[in-house]
């Protein structure tokens, strides 16, 4: 089966002590170190040791809560989230190949800042940056920002929020291209450091914001760092299919996976992106132990401590690495190009992925034995894109 399907892509989602609300209470967890740089550097290095494509860093502009309508006042779960962009940058010098994909909430941030921060991450990581665009989903987030930040007001619902996100990604992408790769000429003969003809205003005028440009940061090494998005609602899926390079979906069966992939492809066609490579990864929470039944027992022990349901939409798998390898192969047949695994406990389940699952997949020829590229686009099979503003005709003439 594995021989006639292309190799899988594998990512892991890093958040706090793991995906389970009681993960921090697991004896293997490093609950006291969640806000230290060493904890995160070790996790990312572990992911790289398994030749994973990339890690995602969750982020949010609110305190975690089990209530949909505001803070829950609980002190028995992980609370607090380091800003994902600088966190990703902190892990870059200690790693060399794994992609670094921080989440960014677009609703109350500036596209101009996000564009240059992701570009900077790409510079410090030597072409390994991506980012995951998300919108505000919790009502209390708006109260954290002065209402005057948004002259056009708050989005009135998910459709508007995702429409703004589409504008935001468009602006970020244009800003990355606002410097041609060779804009910095450093020509002492003419005293010119830049060639102004190779710098471009982006001139974006939208309903939610306008951005003039050019960026103050040169085009990043990858040209366009990959944009990712979680498509767990219809509005999010339409956005992701139109704007992202990697779409995370949350199927709970192979049939759902097949349907979701079909929906993404359909939306791609609707916006004339059928010819572009858009990855569709399934999110899957995983608890792994080599001994049959052990992962389920571990999970039950955690559930006994805290049974609050996670809100990320991902299906949950508890079993042996071999069973998971079978599951991934089966689901991949539904047209998925990869998986983002959410370790139930960090670093325990991440190590099960990098040290067992990956070996099994390699033995089946379903996963890379070594990194074949040094950039994230390279790992994802995405060519370095041409600059939308570059004129190719006049300079040679």
């Amino acid at each position: 089966m594995a021989h006639d399907t292309p190799p899988l892509h594998l990512a892991v989602a890093l958040d706090g002590a793991g995906r389970h609300p009681a993960s921090w209470r697991d004896p293997s967890a490093a609950a006291g170190e969640l806000f230290t740089p060493g904890y995160w550097t070790a996790l990312v290095a572990e992911a790289q040791s398994g030749t994973l494509d990339f890690v995602t860093f969750e982020d949010r502009l609110t305190l975690q809560s089990t209530r949909p309508d505001g803070p829950d006042g609980r002190a028995d779960q992980v609370r607090g989230t380091l800003a994902a962009l600088p966190l990703a940058a902190r892990t870059a010098p200690a790693t060399s190949h794994v992609g670094l994909v921080p989440a960014v909430t677009v609703t109350h941030t500036e596209p101009f800042h996000t564009s240059r921060a992701v570009a900077t991450l790409d510079f410090v990581a030597g072409g390994r940056a991506g980012w995951c665009a998300q919108v505000a989903r919790r009502p209390e987030e708006a109260g954290h920002f002065d209402p005057r930040l948004r002259p056009a007001g708050e989005p009135t619902g998910p459709a508007e929020a995702w429409a703004e996100a589409a504008d935001y990604v468009e602006v970020v992408r244009r800003l990355w291209d606002s410097w041609e790769d060779d804009a910095e000429i450093r020509d002492p003969a003419t005293g010119r450091y830049l060639d102004a003809d190779r710098l471009h205003r982006v001139g974006f005028r939208g309903r939610w914001f306008s951005v003039e440009g050019p960026s103050v940061t040169p085009r990043p090494p990858q040209g366009q760092p990959p944009v990712c998005a979680l498509a767990d609602t219809e509005e999010a899926l339409r956005f992701a299919a139109a704007s992202a390079d990697v779409v995370f979906v949350t199927p709970h069966s192979p049939q759902e996976a097949r349907d979701l992939v079909a929906r993404v492809r359909e939306e791609q066609r609707a916006v004339d992106r059928a010819g572009e490579t858009v990855h569709v990864f399934a999110d899957l929470a995983v608890a792994l132990d080599a001994e049959p039944g052990q992962a389920a027992r571990r999970l039950a022990a955690l559930d006994a401590l805290d049974a609050s349901p996670p809100d990320d939409g991902a299906a949950l798998f508890a079993g042996t690495p071999a069973q998971l390898a079978d599951r991934l192969a089966l689901w991949a047949d539904a047209g998925l190009t990869g998986f983002r695994l959410r370790p139930v406990v960090l670093p325990y389940d991440l190590r099960q992925i990098t040290r067992s699952l990956v070996q099994l997949l390699r033995a089946r020829g379903a996963f890379r034995a070594d990194y074949e590229a040094s950039t994230l686009r390279g790992l994802l099979g995405l060519a370095r894109p041409a600059n939308r503003y570059a004129r190719t005709d006049w300079r040679s003439s």
Binding site: R60, D69, T91, A117, V124, V216
Partner: protein, 461 residues
């Protein structure tokens, strides 16, 4: 008078926001390459500098509707860059300039709380404002801020951002597995802030780092700027070249501190300083002259003059005399789109001064610009530069210096190799870091006296 000589505080500036940088030098390396930042930061750390500093610009400067081509441009996002540098340095403070006009307190507080965690207590924040509509065109609100409101905005922004960071206390994260208690206080992060600029409330979501809040830097030379710094900052730059002016500035800002319940050692004066070294005084003078001529070529001189004249002067010969025509005083002139670092409150008066100077010295436009933009702060042999630095600190002209090299990435090498050992021999610069945090290494009072835990008291829903 036999008091012990005071230690010199040192910062290292990554050049490239103005014409100080001499990119045409063959020793100049790729500006955006991570290795260039690593080289300069590590050089400074090995030499015992207190901090590494990144400036900021949020719009490329333009001239006549085109991006200005002659200066170094293209910069990283500061917090992202410093977070990466935290991985390759151990002791040196990492200071990011972050604008308070085109940001929100919640986001900036998150960035600095995170940076302080990721650097284990080495974060600093240089708070700046901009009011230019030209810069605002890159942001959601556009150029919303009136120039006269800039200090109010900065003060309220800082107040709000520090309030957010202080909504978590050291020890709020207990992570007691057995007791099932992650937070000591379930209300950690609760905040409320209502004033003329910000109307925000809720829960801040980054536990404070080892310093609680970052070390605060301010440029502020104006009356309002000095007062703002006296009330809130830990380090102020000051921008005077003349020793007597430096001393007046030093005495002035230190005298303002008691009003805010602060002692003289709680605000450090560290002017940005340039240097030219040589094996002999004559060699150093020649090196200084060469660098100044490289920094200000003819076109740069014309552009500099246009900032004051507020007119298109491209037809003038930089090696010829100053324009006979007066500066334009309209607000929408050439200068409004230059996004320049300089602003002239009285263009006519400054023009008159410059004309007098040019006439007296028979200076061309280029000579004059070289003259008014200042020669290097320190010129001489390593021994003489070390002595000049020590004397300024000893005379209460400042507490230290932010050294601005003109080359990337090797611009500090010569200074670190030749001047630093002399300062270390005299016990004026550390040979090993004594503290764990930037605040400790700068010798700032251990606890910010204005620090009070402010936690909003509204009830949980």
């Amino acid at each position: 008078m036999n008091r012990p000589r005071r230690r010199i505080r040192l910062g290292a500036f990554y050049p490239g926001t103005n014409s100080t940088a001499v990119w045409s030098d063959p020793a100049w390396h790729d500006y955006m390459e991570f290795g260039s930042f690593v080289h300069l930061a590590r050089t400074a750390e090995h030499a015992g500098f207190d901090f590494f500093f990144l400036a900021e610009a949020l719009r490329l400067r333009e001239q006549h509707g085109r991006v200005y081509e002659r200066d170094v441009a293209g910069r990283p996002d500061n917090v992202t860059m410093l977070a990466a540098l935290a991985a390759v340095t151990e002791h040196i403070g990492l200071v990011a300039t972050v604008n308070s006009t085109f940001n929100e307190p919640y986001e900036v507080a998150r960035q600095f709380a995170t940076l302080d965690q990721l650097t284990c207590g080495r974060a600093g924040w240089n708070v700046v404002t901009s009011w230019e509509r030209f810069v605002g065109e890159n942001f959601r609100r556009g150029g919303f801020l009136a120039q006269e409101q800039r200090y109010e905005r900065a003060r309220l922004f800082l107040d709000a951002a520090l309030g957010l960071m202080r909504s978590w206390r050291p020890g709020d994260v207990v992570a007691d597995r057995r007791a099932g208690r992650f937070l000591r206080d379930p209300r950690a992060g609760a905040f409320e802030h209502h004033d003329a600029q910000f109307d925000i409330a809720g829960r801040f979501n980054v536990p404070c780092g080892p310093q609680g809040v970052p070390v605060i830097f301010q440029a502020g030379g104006s009356e309002q700027g000095r007062e703002f710094a006296a009330a809130t900052a830990d380090v102020i730059f000051g921008m005077y070249s003349d020793t007597a002016e430096k001393k007046r500035f030093y005495a002035d800002v230190k005298a303002r501190l008691p009003r805010y319940g602060r002692t003289a050692d709680s605000l450090l004066v560290m002017p940005a300083s340039t240097f030219a070294l040589g094996e002999t005084e004559a060699e150093a003078q020649e090196a200084a002259r060469v660098v100044r001529r490289l920094q200000i070529d003819g076109a740069s001189a014309i552009r500099f003059l246009e900032q004051l004249w507020n007119r298109d002067l491209s037809g003038y010969d930089p090696e010829g005399p100053l324009p006979a025509i007066d500066p334009a005083l309209d607000a929408d002139g050439v200068a409004s789109r230059l996004a320049s670092v300089r602003h002239y409150p009285d263009r006519m008066a400054t023009a008159a001064q410059w004309r007098a100077l040019a006439e007296a010295g028979k200076l061309s436009i280029r000579d004059l610009v070289i003259e008014v933009t200042g020669r290097q702060t320190f010129i001489g042999t390593p021994a003489s530069v070390a002595a000049q630095m020590a004397e300024l600190v000893d005379q209460d002209a400042c507490d230290g210096f932010v050294m601005v090299p003109h080359l990337v990435p090797g611009g500090l090498d010569e200074f670190a190799d030749n001047v630093l050992p002399l300062l270390q021999e005299r016990g004026l610069v550390r040979t090993g870091y004594e503290g764990a945090t930037l605040r400790e290494n700068l010798g700032l009072p251990a606890c910010d006296p204005t620090f009070t835990v402010r936690r909003a008291t509204f009830a949980e829903p």
